[in-house]
Symmetry: C2
Subunit: 190 residues, 2 copies
Amino acid sequence: MENFRETVKLEEAVRLVNHGPTVFVSAAHGGRKNVMTAAWVMPLDVNPPKVLAVINAGAFTRELMEKSGEFALSVPSRVLADKLMGAGSSSGRDGDKFEKLGLTDFAAEKISAPLVEGCVGWLECRLIRNAGNEAEHDLFMAEVVAAQADSRVFSNGQWKFETAPDDLRTLHYITDGKFYAAGNAVTGKA
Amino acid sequence: MENFRETVKLEEAVRLVNHGPTVFVSAAHGGRKNVMTAAWVMPLDVNPPKVLAVINAGAFTRELMEKSGEFALSVPSRVLADKLMGAGSSSGRDGDKFEKLGLTDFAAEKISAPLVEGCVGWLECRLIRNAGNEAEHDLFMAEVVAAQADSRVFSNGQWKFETAPDDLRTLHYITDGKFYAAGNAVTGKA
């Protein structure tokens, strides 16, 4: 597969999830890895870049996140809608979910968690532990320590869905298997 | 103005922000009211419905939120892009921002905060106080106590952008005045 990945500057990294895409969350620990789906992910700060993610109690990926202190967010394009639903409806405890779903992973630059091939953005995250938020709200905070994007659709710190192939648009989940893809560009003037 | 507002069931309320729209945040206290823009808002739980919002320290709306313990989220459609930028780039301390921006507000059902007319979804929220998150991360948690939506574009717990007027699509912020509107529907199958 041709590789269009380019490094995203850390101070521009949270723009990859600023518009609310649904993402893959992945983690690895002790020779095991897993991937799940999360719609509830957003920036918490720009510089240093931080993100928030709500991760269900009991998820195998969460166990790997907690043990390793690291996780990755991979931002899928619309062609991965079925894989997102698949990753959200089965457990990695029952076998390698990457293999089961036909997802390929590749090595992150700074963390142990695997990144999902074929996505359009990737954020490598280190947990900022907060026992209260994690236990009471399934809410995780993390600092983004590296980021990459598919340069066909994100470059110079900007998404460019309007000029990229339509298949590279991000997905925004509602419920019951239904997403909306990122649509037309709109400019606002104060 | 014709009114298409309908009550949204509480257990379906967070679907109004599940896909990551940028929103107006408003609050009132002691005879004063204000409205600001927030791109960093997402669900925290479905039932009871809860949301998270990152609200800058120093914002006048935050002061009103903290004093009243309540705030509203109004989900704008694309025709309000300029108002969103305007509400995000001026302070209510300098005068009534609703008036300055030409925004009309209307009364919420269960809280004191005003709702923004012309939006397509509204969430009435009561703060779940968390001093650590608020002070360290500008992060607020709240329970949604009432919700409404424009029935032309959200009904029976579902957005229906694909059949509604194009002007009713929600906005998803990137940076520098640039948004993407909600685009085509995509169905995923596990």
